[in-house]
Amino acid sequence: MASSIKIRAKLRDDVVEVKALISHPMETGLRKDKKTGKLIPAHFIQEVVAKANGKTVMTALWSGGVSKNPYIAFKFKGANKGDEVELSWKDNKGETGSTTAKIK
């Protein structure tokens, strides 16, 4: 599932900005299938964890209210060029994905 995330981490003036796009349907569970009229079961990412040098820099807790194929960006201090940022997610069905990126 490494391909589920596109990530970029850039260092500027000692602040690292991480931008990521995750491929995920983000179904709220409130939407109806247009053909069958039945509710589409909820399927959304609940938790995204970002780590740098083994330390958790950000944990995002989400509902189905985050848009499909979610975008997330955040900033942190205390890492250098070449360090690795790891991003991983878990959804309400227990599916997971993760990737790492080197800070540029």
């Binding site: 602040v15 931008k19 709220t28 409130l30 939407r31 109806k32 299938d33 247009k34 609940q46 938790e47 970002a50 740098a52 330390k55 958790t56 820099v57 950000m58 944990t59 995002a60 807790l61 989400w62 509902s63 189905g64 209210g65 985050v66 848009s67 499909k68 979610p70 975008y71 997330i72 960006a73 955040f74 900033k75 942190f76 201090k77 205390g78 890492a79 878990k90 309400n92 069905k93 227990g94």
Partner: protein
């Protein structure tokens, strides 16, 4: 001899107690720290009470919400929240007009600074509320976003 048996028994019952408590408290498949009650709350106040412990955050001009004035497509509304408050623990985003207003909560860890950006769904024109929890209080600001086509229906 009797004493060791008693110790073992005690340890056993404590372990059992912890296990069953954990089983009762964390719903199946859900993550232990995912605030289910706050996410399923139907009002902003209820969600905030569950999430940050207060329904009435202090208004602050040290929080900036960057969002469009008019969102043509409610399914994808870009929201950026920036804050220069000190010792930020979390930044949460709520869409007050949604069936369940709490959309996302970002827990900032070591070294993280007050900036998060994401894209959210909005069912209708409403205030987007950004709530920042710091070491000494809970602060918020809001911005009205007009939605032309709602993003929560089928």
């Amino acid at each position: 001899m009797t004493d060791t048996t008693r110790r073992t028994l005690l340890k056993g019952s404590i372990a059992l107690g912890t296990l069953s408590a954990a089983g009762l408290l964390s719903p199946r498949l859900l993550l232990a720290d995912w605030p289910g009650a706050a996410f399923s709350a139907k009002e902003v106040e209820k969600a905030l009470q569950d999430l940050v412990g207060t329904a009435q955050p202090t208004a602050s001009d040290k929080i900036k919400i960057k969002a469009p004035d008019i969102a043509e497509n409610g399914a994808v509304v870009p929201i950026t929240v920036e804050s220069d408050l000190e010792d930020i623990e979390s930044i949460s985003i709520l869409a007050s007009g949604n069936a369940t207003p709490l959309v996302a909560s970002f827990q900032l860890g070591e070294g993280a600074i007050g900036f998060v950006s994401t894209r959210i769904k909005m069912g209708k024109t409403a205030d987007v509320v950004a709530v920042v929890k710091t070491a000494d209080g809970v602060y918020s600001t809001s911005k009205n976003v007009k939605v032309t086509i709602g993003g929560c229906g089928g």
